[in-house]
């Protein structure tokens, strides 16, 4: 059987590709091309419009290719805005939350798959139950605001995204693929369980760490929900939530750019929204093609056995 360099079947003398093979192949190319273009099309509209003048947007609408190219909206966001503070906040939240969350998930995930850990089933259930039954939003909101007093605290965003039962189970599945003999050999050498974990297991767990870490980081970067619940009176907001406010509230748009640069009447609100959106999403668009394989790994490892 002949295969081309990509390992795909080629028509040879022995095996004939029939007419319908070619039809399906044609449909495949056509449909996948359309779908792929549709997937990125709205981004291209936002990108094009972010470089368009406000007047043109108002009179002629959004556009793929700016009719008059201008970087005015970006200049306004960069010069006058609170966007740098939002960037810093989001980066700090992402870095701190991902690091701590990753460490907790890795320790727990490793411990819970150790066959010789007598409490693993009990603790696994304790962790898993949290995804089966939740108290709901209102009791959670009351606890966070009345008991923990986390209203208008960045901890209200940092903490709730740090660990989840899904991520621990994902990590557990990755840790399972490390041979138990490695743990055994560590024990023979007289290492304690924590020492075994840090010096033998962690280096072997890199794919799992990358996958879970990226899921965590994406969660923090795209966070807007906890912010909308708890950060009502903050001036510096995580990126996505400040984008949310700029999109939905005229007042915060005015606040987001210092008023000495423009008068409120001439505020280019449409192009500002687009430029802010591009800046808030830019890092993801540049990075995700390089890291998507970890997400694909995570989906296939974690999909069925949630």
């Amino acid at each position: 059987m002949a295969k081309n360099k990509d390992g795909m079947l080629e028509s040879t003398g022995k095996i004939k590709l029939t007419g319908s093979d070619y039809v399906i192949r044609g449909i495949g190319y056509f449909f996948i091309t359309i779908f792929a273009i549709m997937s990125i099309f709205p981004f291209l509209v936002i990108l094009g419009t972010s470089f368009e003048t406000e007047d043109n947007i108002i009179t002629q609408g959004v556009t793929l290719l700016p009719r008059e190219f201008t970087t005015a909206a970006y200049e306004l966001v960069i010069k006058g805005g609170t966007i740098w503070q939002s960037y810093c906040l989001t980066i700090v939240l992402t870095a701190v939350g991902t690091t701590i969350g990753l460490f907790i998930c890795a320790m727990t995930g490793y411990a819970l798959q150790r066959r010789d850990f007598p409490f693993r089933n009990g603790i696994s259930f304790f962790v898993y139950f949290t995804s089966l039954f939740q108290a709901g939003l209102a009791p959670y909101y009351l606890l966070m605001t009345q008991t923990y007093h986390l209203n208008n605290s960045y901890f209200a965003v940092l903490l709730p995204l740090m660990v989840s039962s899904w991520l621990i189970i994902l990590m557990k599945n990755f840790a399972k693929s490390i041979p138990h003999e490695l743990t055994e050999s560590g024990k023979i050498d007289g290492a304690g369980d924590f020492k075994i974990f840090t010096s033998i297991i962690l280096p072997m767990l890199k794919p799992g760490l990358a996958t879970v870490g990226l899921f965590l980081a994406l969660g923090y970067w795209n966070e807007w929900y906890q912010s909308s619940l708890f950060l009502q009176n903050k001036t510096v907001l995580p990126l996505q939530y400040s984008l949310y406010k700029i999109i939905n509230e005229a007042q915060s748009l005015k606040n987001s750019v210092a008023s000495q640069y423009v008068t409120v009447d001439s505020l280019p609100s449409e192009s500002l929204k687009m430029a802010t959106a591009m800046m808030a999403t830019g890092p993801i668009i540049f990075l995700y093609p390089f890291v998507q394989r970890y997400f694909i790994g995570g989906i296939t490892v974690g999909a069925v056995k949630g």
Binding site: D6, L9, K14, L17, D21, V23, I24, R25, I27, G28, F31, I32, F35, I40, F43, V45, I46, G61, V62, M107, T108, Y110, R115, D116, F117, P118, F119, I123, V127, Y128, Q134, G136, L137, A138, P139, Y141, L142, L143, L159, I168, E184, I188, D193, N222, Y225, S228, Q240, Y241, L243, I247, A280, T281, I284, I285, Y288, F295, I296, T300, K305, G306
Partner: protein
């Protein structure tokens, strides 16, 4: 501990006294402690607060000092017809999502397999995966930029053709369709990953053998690829059914959540609970609806898991 063979390491005895077990596995227990504390603080600690669903909540008196009213909060939302409407909307949307998601994801996966050029496949897969990585906030803006009646892309084109602009943000009628389409746009790249992996896992020799036997392209899909996907589809469908009363809050909220003209048609449980909590501070009603949802969801997951355990024990959750 008797060590006959010095190289054999005694496992932490699964037998033996509790104290011995605790002592032997103290490090592993300590390694789980941060996660345990975390879940106590953020998942278990809110549970007693469910009691707020059974009181007439008063801010000054707190949850447990407020007057007990029994099931009145449930009665209130149930009698107004609101609860049933929310449940219906949530379930109908999820049914549409589950069926169309899987149909489209399987289609995309099968067609991706047909793509011969590896670089073409890589690039198109990457493009289709992009919507998965962006925040729901941006999804809201993308949809608005395409559909709004003043500057939206769709209406720019309609105007160019001399047609009347569509005022989609003035009426709720088209939004069920729009929400479903946006959901498919956002999730298909992600959903197709699992099916594509399953297809790539099919033994090439089976496909080759079928081709030697003269199977054409349709037959290959109908008799080899689809049957081999069946277990994955069945399991994923079942688990999706377990979550059928849980709505995709971020999507709904960012598309229609702040516009009553739009959301009255497509209101789901999560949006009602969010508004009742954050806008109205009506914690008792919010919690009643939330508890109703959690209980149904809990029963559904247990049922689904029991079914999965019967047909495919390896895949059951617990």
């Amino acid at each position: 501990m008797t060590t006959i063979n010095p190289r054999k390491v005694e496992p932490y005895s699964v037998k033996g006294s509790l104290r011995r077990k605790l002592f032997n596995s103290k490090t592993l227990i300590l390694m789980c402690v941060p996660a345990i504390i975390y879940f106590i603080a953020f998942s278990y600690a809110p549970l007693p607060g469910i009691y707020v669903a059974f009181v007439n909540y008063n801010y000054r008196k707190g949850i447990f000092g407020s007057p007990f009213v029994g099931l009145k909060n449930f009665d209130f939302v149930a009698k107004s017809g609101k609860l049933w409407m929310l449940t219906q909307n949530t379930i109908l949307f999820n049914l549409a999502f589950i069926l169309l998601d899987n149909l489209l994801a399987v289609t995309v996966a099968i067609l991706l397999k047909e793509i011969q050029s590896k670089s073409f496949r890589k690039v198109s897969q990457t493009m289709m995966f992009l919507p998965y990585f962006i925040s729901q906030v941006l999804v809201g803006l993308l949809v608005f930029s395409l559909l709004n009646s003043d500057t939206g892309f769709l209406n720019v084109i309609l105007k160019g053709l001399g047609a009347e602009p569509l005022r989609l943000y003035k009426t709720g009628d088209p939004w069920p369709l729009i929400i479903i389409l946006v959901h498919l746009w956002q999730k298909t790249g992600y959903n197709s990953v699992v099916y594509f992996a399953a297809i790539m896992g099919i033994d090439d020799s089976i496909i080759e053998a079928s081709m030697i036997d003269g199977a054409n392209g349709w037959q290959k899909i109908r008799y080899i690829i689809l049957p081999s996907l069946k277990p994955t589809v069945v399991i994923l469908l079942l688990f999706a059914l377990g979550g059928i009363v849980k709505g995709d809050f971020g999507l709904f909220w960012n598309l229609v959540g702040r516009n009553p003209i739009l959301y009255n048609k497509v209101d789901i449980i999560e949006m009602f609970v969010y508004r009742a909590t954050v806008s109205d501070f009506n914690f008792s009603t919010a919690s009643a609806v939330g508890l109703y949802q959690s209980l149904i969801g809990f029963i559904l997951v247990l049922t689904v898991n029991a079914i999965v355990k019967k047909i495919e024990p390896d895949y059951s959750l617990f």
